[in-house]
Amino acid sequence: MRGFELVHPGSLAEAIALLDTDDDRVRPFSGGTALMLMMKTGVFRPSRLVHLGRIGAAHAAIAAGPNGGLRIGAMATLTAVEHSADVIRVAPVIAGAMKRLANVRVRNVACVGGNLAHGDPHMDLPPVLAALGGRVAIAGPQGTREVAVEHLFSGYYETVLGRGELITEVELPSQRGWTSAYLKCTTRSADDWPALGVAVSLRRAGGVIAEARLVVSAATEKLTRLAGAEAALVGAAADGTAFARAADAAVAEVELVEDARGSADYKAQLLRVHLKRALAQAVNDGAVS
């Protein structure tokens, strides 16, 4: 890799203008933890990197909303999210997932926006945010828009983000009454990319499951919401029978990818087992008040 241009815009508008180009070798750069790996291996050779450091502070706030929701600035580091009192109170599942997300050195510099925009299906945070009903705010040359995290990904390392667009914020709806869990599973070293990630969120009312959001990642080409499994839960009591039915539905509805971490058949078994365990754990942990 030889030289490239590194620019430091002083405003969001300037950053968007610098990114508004046909050159696919122009990329935004926040924590850089994923991009640097791609650059080192020659997978990505930038012509220009738009460093977001100078506008970071303005987009790094983490704050609980008045009605049980949460807003996380896209430039918040994963460490800031991990230790935020608001995150721990409103969505403890996020803080819990951080403990085994990469390592402390990566978490200290990697940012929430980049973690989502990278489009890597092996990341831990996207399925968790999707299961919590999260939405991202996006700013671009044509203005701003919002997209649900579950609809952000269009394929393997692909997102719906357009030319010049940046994620500016993640917004979570009220978590009151919801109970959530995230389980991931590695099949090689403990710090490997997960073979499977499962995030679940349930709201119970009147002794039955009223609403469910279930998301699978890592074993699939992109983060995928499990509509069939959710349907198997809604209206049922939160017990092993319902969880087993949901697990069967989940295995039936997703296409699992074979790779060095396991065959598709084996990942089906991992999904079946871990979905049941995640549901049991969510129920066991109890709802956020």
Binding site: R100, A260, D265
Partner: protein, 764 residues
């Protein structure tokens, strides 16, 4: 653990903190990686993209045209400085750059030179090499009979007398066939009550030193200096001098600290190419590999081991071993692995009738060489899994069955060499006792099933090899130790300084160890195979004793009575009238050895010492996913008398954890000879979260009477038992037997389903 009585000077047996520790943690330790010299060029090589093929053409025009490129070099250029550019420790089979054909993906074909390493890397991408593909062979069993032949003719180096019979052999992939016959194996099998037969496999893995290989050559006036991260500076000097046709003293090899070696940085790796490039360009040339490139440079042998045992009255009476070593495209030290490890293939058991056939095979994979255990972990994996299966087959407790058959002190091993100073039973007993083997064990419940397993192995030292050491006592009584042993993280500087300090009654911290520089430090065969503590340690002790004897003679010549309290500084002053002079002690050590007879493979003195190591584990299996969690791991080794107990313990735990990675998940994924996971992102090594919940390192009570202060090597011993102990524990927990590494969760899960009679994993 044993507390040895301290020695008189209190230096040997003391857990001296590593002499270099402060330098390392403060970033002051020297590494070749950080070395920059004026006028230096960087090189990047263009590597083969096919596993086996004839080179039709090489087009370097575009690379040469790139701004900043200094020169592009092919094998034709190399031959202008080295007419016969083939190197290797056992066979002269490896070209400095590919000649006529390539034998594995990743083989260096062209070298690009530039002052900017990024320019060199970019230019390397512009070189176009055209190949005519040839039929490849990847599997070690197929290589025995395949029509694909990796090397048309075998070219053993003259160094090893026992490879002479291979000279000129054609159209075979068998680089070495080692054979041992002892007793009457057929009769033992014919008379057996029971016969057990199994096949075990291991996968190709890599050393993964965190400092990738790096070498820098500086041309001088009729001389060459090579700074290199090498475990074998003396060998590099000899081999480079041989290639150039120069006397040894015109080649200077300097080695600072290494960021790990594990056998990867042995013999010649990058040195031949940087030497040629420096002579071609008359400029210093540095070659630094990336992590990815290491996967194409040297690896650990994949293997297949067929083992059969005859059992009569509960004793193993006969054993047949057939071992196939996948050596990849170049022999490196593989033929020595085949022989030196081959003869311990029946394991540490007292078996009268033994047949061993051990084959080193060429294939079109990246080359394989020595990796922490020199083939022994592959063998122990097989014979200790097999031994467990026999015990279970006979309905005998696995530890009791081992005790019944174990090779005891004074009994002949398979080669006929009588076992001396090898605490095999002691290691087994220590592990069993520590694990409360005779007490009831919590076997878990539901989807969490628990089990435990044990395994022991042993290894002969590579022989015969030589070490030379020089101890220089200065006029104030302080001492320098000149030694070509490489401290690659194992702590040899500290251990060797302790030997000097004990002998000369100094503080270890006051002994300075001079790092390998072949213009300054004397010959040492190499830092490999756990040989340094014993061989270099004996040479160091002899050198220190030589210095001590001269100090005593000096005292006597000055008319001082024996036992007078004059220290060396006083003696020098008395002798020379001022603080002046030196005393130089020299020690050379080579143990006795008898090469195995070619026909029978037998020898009554096959090794100067035995290494013994064993492992016990308690594990938990998740029966729904196949995940194995190691709750407890106990490793015990016979290290003789520990020179530095703390360093010994870290060598034991380090070796066991490295083997844990090879056991549980490390695996080079190959597709048509290409490594598809050649990076730390995709090739996973153990991290802190993979360390067992409890891990213990036991030093078994022992003494190596021929070793320096009773010590012997320790770097590899704790690798031996890890893989089979875990497989045995999985069998104990859930009743399934895995016969191939790694023991992945999916492999466990599939075996569980198969045992249930449901071969399909999951009906969708």
């Amino acid at each position: 653990m044993t507390i040895h009585r301290p020695l008189p000077a209190g230096q040997v047996g003391r857990s001296v903190p590593r002499l270099e520790a402060r330098r390392k943690v403060t970033g002051r330790a020297e590494y070749v990686h950080n070395l920059v010299v004026p006028g230096m060029l960087h090189t990047k090589v263009v590597r083969s993209t096919v596993p086996h093929g004839r080179i039709l053409s090489i087009d370097t025009a575009a690379a040469e045209a790139l701004e900043g490129v200094y020169r592009v070099v092919t094998a034709d250029d190399i031959r202008t400085v080295v007419p016969d550019p083939w190197y290797g420790p056992a066979f002269h089979d490896q070209p400095v750059l590919a000649i006529d054909k390539v034998r594995h993906v990743g083989e260096p074909v062209v070298a690009v030179l530039a002052e900017d390493p990024y320019v060199a890397a970019e230019a390397a991408q512009l070189v176009v090499v055209e190949y005519e593909p040839m039929e490849p062979v990847f599997d070690e069993i197929e290589a025995m009979t395949s029509t694909a032949v990796v090397h048309e003719v075998l070219k053993p180096a003259g160094t090893f007398p026992d490879l002479k019979h291979l000279v000129g052999r054609r159209d075979t992939n068998v680089a070495l066939d080692y054979r041992l016959r002892r007793g009457d194996v057929d009769a033992a099998f014919a008379a057996a009550d029971r016969v057990f037969e199994h096949e075990f496999k291991t996968q190709q893995v890599m050393h993964t030193p965190l400092e990738p290989m790096v070498s820098l050559a500086e041309p001088g006036d009729d001389a060459l200096t090579i700074h290199t991260a090498s475990q074998s500076p003396s060998f590099v000097r000899i081999e480079i001098a041989r290639l150039l046709g120069w006397p040894e003293n015109r080649v200077r090899v300097k080695v600072p600290y290494l960021g790990g070696g594990f056998g990867a940085k042995l013999y010649i790796k990058l040195e031949a190419l940087v030497a040629c490039l420096a002579l071609l360009t008359r400029r210093p040339v540095k070659w630094s590999l990336t992590m990815e490139e290491q996967f194409y440079t040297i690896t650990k042998h994949a293997s297949t081991f067929r083992i059969a045992s005859a059992v009569k009255d509960g004793h193993v009476t006969g054993r047949r071993c057939e071992v196939f070593w996948n050596g990849g495209a170049y022999a490196d030290i593989g033929p020595r692995v085949t022989q030196k490890s081959g003869f311990t293939a029946p394991g540490p058991y007292d078996i009268d009738n033994v047949a061993i056939d051990s084959y080193a095979l060429y294939t079109n994979r990246p080359p394989a060489g020595a990796l922490r255990g020199f083939g022994i972990p592959q063998l122990v994996w097989a014979y200790e899994s097999h031994t467990d299966l026999i015990a279970r087959g006979l309905g005998v407790d696995p530890v009791a069955f081992r005790r019944r058959n174990i090779l005891r002190e004074g009994r002949p091993q398979a080669t006929g060499t009588v076992l001396r100073d090898a605490a095999i039973e002691g290691v087994l007993d220590d592990i069993a006792r520590r694990m409360d083997w005779d007490k009831p064990f919590d076997r878990g419940s539901g989807t969490t099933q628990r089990g435990r397993g044990i395994a022991v192995g042993f290894k002969a030292s590579i022989a015969p090899t030589t070490s030379v050491a020089i101890v220089n006592v200065a006029a104030d009584g302080s001492a320098n130790l000149y030694l070509s042993t490489v401290d690659m993280g194992q702590g040899s500087d500290t251990a060797m300084a302790q030997i000097v300090a004990e002998t000369l009654a100094l503080r270890t911290e006051d002994v300075k160890v001079v790092h390998p520089d072949t213009d300054v430090t004397p010959y040492d065969m190499a830092t490999l195979g756990s040989r340094s503590t014993f061989h270099a340690g004996n040479a160091v002790k002899l050198a220190a004793e030589h210095a001590r004897d001269q100090i005593e003679a000096l005292a006597k010549s000055l008319g001082l009575p024996p036992g007078s309290n004059y220290g060396p500084a006083d003696l020098f002053k008395k002798k020379y009238g001022m603080q002046a002079g030196n005393i130089i002690g020299v020690g050379t050590y080579i143990p006795d050895y008898k090469s195995p007879a070619p026909e029978t493979g037998l020898s009554d003195n096959v090794t100067p010492f035995w290494m013994v190591g064993g492992t016990g584990v308690e594990i938990e299996v998740d029966t729904e996913t196949g995940h194995v969690r190691i709750l407890r791991m106990v490793n015990a080794c016979d290290v003789g008398r520990p020179l530095n107990p703390k360093i010994v313990e870290t060598q034991i735990s380090g070796a066991a954890l490295m083997q844990l990675g090879f056991t549980m998940f490390e695996n080079m994924d190959l597709d048509g000879g290409q490594v598809t996971n050649a990076s730390l992102a995709d090739y996973k090594i153990p991290g802190m979260h993979d360390v067992p919940d409890e891990i213990e390192s036991l030093i078994t009570e022992a003494e190596q009477h021929s070793g320096p202060y009773g010590a012997k090597g320790v770097g590899e011993s704790a690798t031996f038992g890890v893989s089979p102990a875990i497989a045995n524990a999985i069998h104990d927990a859930v009743g399934i037997r895995l016969t191939a590494l790694p023991l992945s969760p999916e492999a466990v899960f599939r075996a569980l389903r198969e045992a249930e009679g449901n071969t399909g994993t999951d009906a969708k």
